[in-house]
């Protein structure tokens, strides 16, 4: 297998991060974030690139990539909804939100819409228990949700196409909805 083509700026950023640590192996997570940011998901070729740069066996990278829930091995929509389903959000109404997402997007969990815009999944506690029900769209948090608010957010995202992602490259979070 030949490793993925990765841009020079990603490689440059990885070198900067490696320089901070006593041991380059500590940057596996950061490297996977960088590659996922560039490619959208982690293919075997992308993980191999990380393994080569950090001088690790490929399996050491893959075992990390498959352990953490924020790494993906297949493509997701441009906007990926992660709806919290844990206790505090459940008692404040996350089930009704899930129904709304299902009827609105007409997708199964992890399925990507035909236009590539949407996908969703249920996730565990996001640490927004006091302002639930909550969800992340990419890396941006939306709180105090109701089915109507959720519908409205989806409409606005479709109209505005905002940046909602955290960039490891730039160390910034997208500007979000207007």
């Amino acid at each position: 297998m030949i490793s993925e083509q990765i841009s020079e700026q990603t490689e440059k950023k990885l070198k900067e991060i490696i320089a901070q640590y006593p041991d380059p192996k500590s940057t596996v997570i950061a490297a996977l974030y960088l590659v996922q940011e560039e490619k959208g998901y982690l293919s075997n070729e992308a993980m191999l690139w990380v393994a080569e740069k950090l001088d690790l066996p490929a399996v050491r990278v893959k075992e990390v990539a498959t352990f953490y829930s924020m790494f993906r091995q297949q493509a997701v929509g441009k906007y990926h909804i992660q709806l919290c389903r844990t206790l505090s959000c459940m008692v404040t109404g996350s089930k009704a939100l899930l129904e709304k997402i299902k009827t609105r997007l007409k997708l199964r969990p992890h399925e990507v819409s035909a236009d590539g815009m949407w996908s969703y999944e249920e996730v565990e506690c996001l640490g927004s228990c006091g302002s639930g029900p909550a969800m992340l769209i990419n890396d941006t948090l939306f709180e105090h949700l109701t089915p109507e608010k959720l519908n409205n957010i989806i409409n606005r995202i479709e109209a505005e196409q905002p940046d909602l992602s955290y960039s490891t490259l730039k160390e910034t979070l997208g500007q979000g909805l207007k």
């Binding site: 950090l54 844990t86 228990c129």
Partner: protein, 419 residues
Amino acid sequence: MKILTTNIKLSNQSDIHIYESRGGYKSAAKAMNLPAETIVEEVKASGLRGRGGAGFPTGIKWGFVPKNQDLPTYLVMNADESEPGTFKDKLLLEQDPHLCLEGLIIAAKALNVHLAIIYIRGEYAYGATVMQKAIKQAYLAGYLGEKIFKSKYALDVILHRGAGAYICGEETALLNSIEGKRGQPRLKPPFPAVSGLYGCPTIINNVETLANLPWIIEHSGSSYAKIGTAKSTGTKLISVSGNVSQPGVYEVELGYPVLDFIQNECRGIANGKKLKAVIPGGSSVAVLRADELNNLKLDYESLLAAGSMLGSGGMIVLDETIDMVEVCANLQNFYAYESCGQCTPCREGGHWVEKLCRKLVNGTGTRKDLDLVQSVCSGIAGKTICPFGDALVSPTLSFIKKFPEEFEKKIFRIKTYVR
């Protein structure tokens, strides 16, 4: 009495100049001129206990680092807040990042640490950007880097993002994660204070624990020990969620009565409903029925005596309309999903218990299933490398023990017809 939240909700507190204008970084500057032993003694005298969940005395934990050794010592700020119901560190990280950093600098000086790592959970992307900015400002101000506060001391700080794993809040799983491995807990001993990150002595402290240090250095440990109760000193952030009128993060003196807290701070139960139960310290502690809360105080000892724990201070309040079997199944789903998979009892048992609870919720569970839940639980508790197994078992058993009639009602019975 407020120690941690005096400046919360004031605008631009995350800007270093605003933080300094309110007296910020004076304690860290003071600590630079104190011998390390003095800082450790002050923290010991304060009685400060770890705010992450275990409640172990911070000064004593620091004392476990071996003296006179050649290896470097590392310090980690545990900002991997993932316990359901807990969102107090998020408040500090996002609203007052310099308070957290100042605490980190003081702890680093006390432990002779020159590299500290902030491990923040991946989902806290906004918190990471705020913290990253605060770190950059601190470097520019000369509070981090070489010769900090014009002393000879050097300290570097790295912000390390996790990537979605509850278990990384466990100290040794967190260290494995920083080393670029799967977040699976290590066997103890050796404890991290002796052999932690890269095999070197490492101290891991919770965000809230560290955020108390500037106050302790400013006012002395003995002043801190006067707040709260004799064994649970100081204040504690309580993050309240569920069916209360005003959920949120509240700073209270330890020893505050639970029912008064819910009534006065959280403005009672939402929508005029009646209180049914409280999970006082995050999802991993035993549930308490409303009738068990009379005269119960919010501190480590009182809650332990009541058969539960103060834990992380993540309080989940449940009203009379909540189905406790469903609550139990919901939490089992969490634990089954979040098990790191290292130990068989937890990996297999978690899913097993979850399936059985799900059957009970759906009305297809039998008495045998309910008995089996308890038997599987006894096969998990105390039989795993880390406390995750116990964290799964203790709430489950408490739900069954304290709300037996609700479980009983869900049991599927074959109807027998008599002619």
